[in-house]
C-alpha cells in the first residue's frame, strides 16, 4: 500500500533579503525589516514528506534512520548555524524561504534511499510556511 512518511527537522540560520536588481530604496520597500543591513535569523522547521509502498517486512515506507542520515548530511549540516546569504547556493538568489524550500527539495530529491520525495515544507516562523513539490 502506498503511504506517506513525514519528519520535521530544525535549522537555525540567518539571512538578509536584498537583491542587486533593486535600488536601496526599492529593496527597503520590497523587503521591509527583512532588509536590515546585518541580517537576522530564524529557527526554520523543515518538514520532509516521502511517499512509497509500505514494505511488508518492516511496515515502513522508509527507515527513519536512513531518512535522517540523508537530511542531516545534505541539508542540516549544510545550513544549520550558517548565514544563508554567504552560501554558494544563494550567490545570485535571495534567500527567501521560497527559495530555501526549493533548494532543500533539490538537495534531497535524489538522496532519498527508499521511496520518493513528495514534498518539502519550510516554516520560517510559526505563522508562515512554504511548500515545494518539485514542479
Amino acid at each position: 500500500m502506498r503511504a506517506y512518511f513525514g519528519r520535521r527537522y530544525t535549522i537555525s540560520a540567518s539571512h538578509r533579503l536584498n537583491t542587486d536588481a533593486l535600488s536601496t530604496q526599492e529593496n527597503r520597500a520590497a523587503y521591509g525589516k527583512c532588509n536590515n543591513p546585518h541580517g537576522h535569523g530564524h529557527n526554520y522547521v523543515v518538514e520532509v514528506l516521502v511517499v512509497g509502498a509500505v514494505n511488508p517486512e518492516t511496515g515502513m515506507v522508509i527507515n527513519m534512520v536512513a531518512l535522517d542520515n540523508a537530511v542531516r548530511s545534505r541539508v542540516i549540516e549544510h545550513f544549520d548555524h550558517a548565514n544563508l546569504n554567504l552560501d554558494p547556493l544563494f550567490v545570485n538568489r535571495v534567500p527567501t524561504t521560497e527559495n530555501l524550500c526549493r533548494t532543500v527539495f533539490a538537495l534531497l530529491k535524489d538522496e532519498i534511499p527508499v521511496g520518493k520525495l513528495e514534498r518539502v515544507r519550510v516554516e520560517e516562523t510559526e505563522n508562515n510556511s512554504f511548500e515545494c513539490e518539485g514542479e
Binding site: R2, A3, R8, Y9, L49, T58, G59
Partner: protein
C-alpha cells in the same frame, strides 16, 4: 470541495518486531523500537474528510458526528492499550506509524463514507510532533 479535519489524541504502547527475523536482525533494523518490553507515545490522529458544504447548514459534516466516529472506531480500541498485544489490527502487521495510519483508515472509512455526505480523504498519525505518517486510501 472542502477538506475538513478533526484532530484526536490517544496514548498507546507498542514495539517493532518481525517474527520472521532473528533477534539480531530485529534489533539492527528497528533499534530501540525492538525492545520487547515496549514503549509508548502520545499519538495525534488527524482525520480529513472531503465534501461540499450543505446548502442549509454550511457544514461538510457535523464535527460532533465525526468526533463520535473517531472515538468509537479508533480511540475506544486503541487508547491506553498495547497495540501489539491488545488490538487485532496489529496481530499480523507491525504497528509502525504507517501501519497505524492504514489501520485507522480501515476503521474509519465504512462509518465516514456510509453517511453519503463526505468521503474519507486522509488520515495522518503523529507519533511525536516530529514524526508522522499519512494514508490516503491508495492501493
Amino acid at each position: 470541495m472542502i477538506y475538513l479535519t478533526r484532530r484526536a489524541t490517544f496514548s498507546a504502547s507498542h514495539y517493532y518486531w518481525n517474527p520472521a527475523w532473528t533477534k539480531e536482525k530485529n534489533e539492527h533494523v528497528f533499534g530501540r523500537c525492538a525492545n520487547r518490553n515496549g514503549h509508548g507515545h502520545n499519538y495525534t490522529l488527524e482525520v480529513t474528510v472531503a465534501g461540499e458544504p450543505d446548502p442549509v447548514t454550511g457544514f461538510v459534516v457535523d464535527l460532533k458526528w465525526l468526533k463520535d466516529i473517531i472515538e468509537r472506531e479508533v480511540l475506544a480500541a486503541w487508547d491506553h492499550r498495547h497495540l501489539n498485544l491488545e488490538t487485532p489490527d496489529f496481530a499480523a502487521a507491525i504497528p509502525t506509524t504507517e501501519n497505524i495510519a492504514i489501520a485507522a483508515w480501515k476503521r474509519l472509512e465504512p462509518s465516514v463514507n456510509a453517511a453519503g455526505v463526505a468521503r474519507l480523504s486522509r488520515v495522518r498519525v503523529y507519533e511525536t510532533p516530529e514524526i508522522f505518517a499519512e494514508y490516503r486510501g491508495e492501493p
